[in-house]
């Protein structure tokens, strides 16, 4: 049944570069330790040193027990890493770690659309790993998570993109037309332009990936 979910696989890996537009003005010499740490972690992540980046986020997570962003990124790095990992034992370890920090993020910030999207990605990762075993079990969870997220934040491009991609994957599989999703996909791309993260270091990336999805699925016009 693996093929069922091939379509549903979300090729995050390309989109991960959480292009943290450093909206911190450089001339402001006095960056807090938190800002320095986060910046360092993002730059390591962009360099491809995701393990070291995760380690820094983990340290910040321990130092900032109220802030949901550091555990969020530890979890996200592990989830994304599992997509390209071949060794099943390693995948399980990564996803277990991702879950641990996902739960930590959830206790720090409730009803958070970004965390709901991450949780949907967590279950998607299991489905990608073993569609036959987890697809049947986790796909309703993924659907429910995107639904909940879109109620909380209907104008968040991450929520809309994830949700539409998932629905499009299922439609493709059942041979249904996917062009009905194009307007929503384009809306997601547009949302990236107007999207204002609620705070410093909040997730911002993904526009390029969204454009790629539009390009691949909505060729006309």
């Amino acid at each position: 049944m693996k093929n069922v979910f091939i379509y549903i696989i979300i090729a995050f890996v390309g989109s991960i570069v959480n292009a943290q537009e450093t909206n911190i003005s450089e001339d402001k010499a006095e960056l807090s330790k938190y800002q320095q740490g986060m910046k360092k972690a993002f730059s390591l992540w962009e360099e491809g040193k995701s393990n070291e980046a995760a380690n820094i986020f983990e340290r910040i997570s321990a130092a900032e027990p109220e802030n949901w962003l550091p555990p969020f990124y530890v979890s996200q790095i592990n989830i994304f890493a599992s997509f390209s990992e071949k060794d099943q034992t390693q995948v399980k370890l990564q996803l277990d770690k991702a879950l641990q920090f996902l739960n930590e993020a959830k206790t720090r910030s409730k009803e958070n659309a970004e965390i709901l999207v991450l949780e949907a990605q967590y279950y998607t990762a299991w489905i990608v790993q073993d569609g036959m075993q987890y697809g049947m079990k986790y796909s309703p969870k993924v659907v429910a998570l995107y639904q909940k997220a879109s109620i909380i934040a209907s104008d968040n491009p991450h929520v809309l993109l994830g949700k539409i991609e998932w629905e499009m994957g299922s439609a493709k599989y059942f041979g249904k037309p996917t062009d009905v999703y194009c307007s929503e996909l384009k809306r997601a791309v547009a949302l990236f332009d107007t999207f204002k993260p609620e705070g410093e270091f909040y997730p911002t990336g993904g526009k390029e990936y969204a454009e790629k999805v539009v390009f691949e699925n909505c060729k006309t016009e």
Partner: protein
């Protein structure tokens, strides 16, 4: 340069020097190496001062060093996946050239699990042989969880009965629990040539543990086996489900509620309701079977689960009601006109429990279950009516002292009140019993390392009916022999009271006893599992009596005994062949017992020597279909041939059955399901009924006991409607 400027300059210089030196003074270098127990370095470990931002990642040689501006006593943390997090509190100046060896994390997947005796289903378990959805996708199971478990080794094929017969044990030696609470009447009533089914819908459960021996001290009153079913904690989403089948219709609905104002008492709740109506009349009109039905099988059942999150815990309330009735005449060698049987059964089961995590790693569980079952039977001209009221109360607590040591304690109470009235033309007789059993247990889990684990428990039970105390030790341990393989050993004593058929006539008895010894080998890697288990089971204090069935005034006593020994092998593989998932089970069983009215020790009719199941599932992507296949083989079962000397002296011919199913996804929301049992029409014989008296030639005539129907067809259409039309039937595949 004037004086003031100079002074200021000097002052600044002095300050900056001072500051610098202070900074230099405050910067402490922390360094060391991180290694595994076997000496190899750990690359990528996270080393940091807790709560500060200072830290580093270990290099390929396991070395790390970083500077910190913290001083005094600090906590150094070293973490890496699959190892226990290392924590050290010391003055930062002491943290130089550290040599740290990380201990294996015993919570990780690499750790050995005690596997002797038990099969787990569900993705929470580390090694699951059956997945919850196998119940509905296994061709021979027909959506019945009991049917799916019969494809596992350790069970014997008793085709006309349908209940679980485990390792030479009778069906009542297996007890079924929902969320840890006993189900007293788990099977639907049926006639004696049609297999029964589990009463409860498989969609309500997301975890199944089937133990064929050597189980935990938490469970008692089961000589052979326990089946643990766990209901779903939280449904994924709101939906309505519709089922239209050749045998009836079903309707289900799930609602979720988010409280407007979250309080400790209500942190979210949900309710699911299912109703099913089954009527075999149209099917039997089209495909008549061997029974002469006056009133074909008709059942109405409804169940509901309510869940509420509260006080860091979860409250679950489950209730199920069903009513079944039918009347038929069956062939009987002693009655030319046949035997007329009428049944009306109503059954109500409810179960409520609350689990919560408390401070200091305590976990508590409190729950109760209650069953009321009423039967009205018409046996030719006689009438039999009985009522069973049973309840189970349970309280348990678990303390986690560390990842390596856990302790569980619990107390429970079982109460049964059974009343029966037998009314024949000439007389009426009333009888019954009240049975109370109180039990307590303690069990400890020790994980010595990723390689070695031990579980030891004791259980004490007191029966008020027998005024008897029983004491059962249980012990199991597991040792990892290689990266993907392990061995486990289990030993235990198990007690169970005789069933209501006996207790209603005589309660001056004792509990029956078994002892299990189990040796298990397990290999699992890459979606392949091999499991081999050898066992020896000793039976003591089995109940004997002198008539063919328990009767009033018979001479009952605990003088029986027996043994069962055998080998169970299981192989499952969903890796080797693309889109194919299959498993093979083989059981070898050698058992004899002296009980009931047996004149000597003999192999009972429900226990045959060889059982084989082969189950396959093939996903055809282009057809959006899953095709399922199952084959069951069982060697012959014993019966007594009255025309030759001896007791249980002959065997029936071997049993063969093939089942096929096809699930077709019409769309995300709709699924069409076909299944056929025994399409090749094997003529199976489950046993023989002999005439009470010999004919003129001194020969006892006999009649073969055949299934009610050789074949069975099923067509169903299942439709799920969810809020936004996005839930899908893949869930039901």
């Amino acid at each position: 340069m004037n004086l003031t400027k100079l002074t200021v300059f000097h002052l600044l210089l002095a300050i900056s020097v001072l500051l610098c030196s202070q900074i230099i003074d405050a910067q402490t270098i922390i360094s060391g190496t991180v290694k595994q127990k076997n000496g190899s370095p750990i690359y990528g470990a996270n080393i940091y001062i807790d709560g500060a931002y200072d830290g580093a990642t270990s290099g390929e040689d396991g070395k790390f060093n970083f500077t910190t501006s913290e001083n005094g006593v600090q906590t150094l943390v070293i973490s890496f996946v699959s190892f226990e997090t290392y924590i050290m509190a010391a003055d930062v100046t002491q943290m130089k050239d550290l040599k740290v060896i990380l201990k294996d994390d015993v919570n990780s997947l690499e750790t050995v699990v005690i596997s002797a005796g038990s099969f787990s289903a569900g993705d929470n378990s580390k090694v699951s042989v059956l997945k919850p959805l196998d119940v509905v996708t296994t061709a021979s199971a027909l959506g019945d969880f009991v049917g799916a478990l019969q494809t596992l080794p350790g069970t014997t094929t008793v085709a006309e009965d349908g209940r679980l017969f485990v390792r030479g044990g009778e069906a009542e030696e297996t007890q079924i629990f929902i969320d840890g609470l006993r189900v007293f009447t788990p099977y639907t009533p049926t006639t004696n040539n049609t297999p029964t089914r589990g009463r409860y819908s498989p969609f309500l459960f997301d975890g199944i543990t089937f133990s064929t021996g050597g189980y935990s001290a938490e469970f008692g009153q089961a000589l052979s086996s326990v089946l643990l079913l766990n209901t779903i904690d939280e449904p994924d989403q709101e939906k309505t489900e519709i089922a239209i089948m050749t045998v009836g219709v079903g309707l289900g609905n799930t609602q979720k509620f988010t409280p407007k104002k979250e309080s400790n008492f209500n942190q979210g709740s949900s309710i699911s309701v299912n109703a099913t109506y089954i009527n075999l009349a149209p099917y039997i009109a089209l495909f008549p079977d061997r029974n002469d039905w006056q009133k074909p099988f008709e059942t109405f059942s409804g169940e509901t689960v309510y869940r509420q999150k509260m006080y860091n815990g979860l409250l679950k309330v489950y209730a199920a009601f069903d009513n079944t009735n039918f009347q038929l005449t069956q062939e009987d060698i002693n009655l030319p006109e046949g035997f007329n049987f009428k049944l009306n059964n109503s059954n109500f089961y409810t179960n409520a429990n609350y689990t919560a995590s408390l401070e200091n790693d305590w976990k508590i569980f409190a729950g109760a279950s209650y069953t009321i079952g009423k039967n009205k039977l018409g046996l030719q001209k006689d009438n039999l009516e009985n009522t069973e009221n049973s309840a189970h109360f349970k309280l348990k607590a678990r303390k986690k002292f560390s990842n390596r040591v856990k302790l569980s304690v619990g107390v429970e109470q079982f109460s049964t009140d059974f009343d029966e009235t037998f009314a024949a033309t000439e007389f009426i007789s009333d009888y019954g019993y009240v049975n109370n059993i109180t039990a307590a247990y303690v069990e400890a889990d020790f994980i010595f390392s990723q390689k070695l684990a031990l579980k030891a428990g004791i259980r004490e039970e007191y029966s008020a009916l027998f005024n008897q105390f029983t004491f059962s030790p249980r012990l199991s341990f597991a040792y990892k022999t290689g990266k993907n393989s392990q061995v486990s050993l289990a030993y235990g004593d198990f007690y169970q009271q005789p069933n209501s058929d006996i207790l209603k006539f005589n309660s001056n008895l004792e509990a029956q006893k078994t002892q299990h010894c189990i040796f298990n080998y397990q290999y699992s890697a890459n979606n392949r599992i091999l499991r081999a288990e050898a066992y020896y089971k000793d039976y003591k204090n089995l109940v004997t009596f002198s008539n063919s069935l328990p009767t009033f005034g018979d001479n009952f006593n605990n003088g029986g005994n027996g043994y069962a020994t055998g080998l169970d092998i299981f192989w499952r593989d969903n890796e080797s062949i693309k889109n194919v998932d299959y498993w093979v089970s083989y059981s070898y069983l050698d058992t004899e017992r002296f009980y009931r009215n047996y004149p000597k020790q003999a192999a009972p009719p429900f226990a045959n020597t060889h059982n084989i199941s082969v189950i396959g599932k093939y996903w055809i992507d282009d057809w959006k279909s899953q095709i399922g296949f199952s084959y069951q083989y069982a060697s012959g079962r014993t019966y007594t041939d009255l025309n030759i000397q001896g007791f249980l002296n002959s065997k029936t011919k071997d049993f063969n059955s093939v089942s096929l199913n096809w699930a077709y996804l019409l769309s995300q929301q709709k699924i069409l399901y076909f299944s056929v049992n025994n399409p090749f029409g094997f003529k199976n014989i489950n046993g023989y009924q002999y005439a009470d008296a010999a004919d003129a030639n001194g020969n006892f005539n006999r009649r073969s006991l055949r299934p009610a129907a050789d074949q069975f067809f099923f067509i169903g259409f299942f439709w799920t409607i969810s809020e936004k039309g996005t839930d899908n039937q893949l869930n039901n595949l």
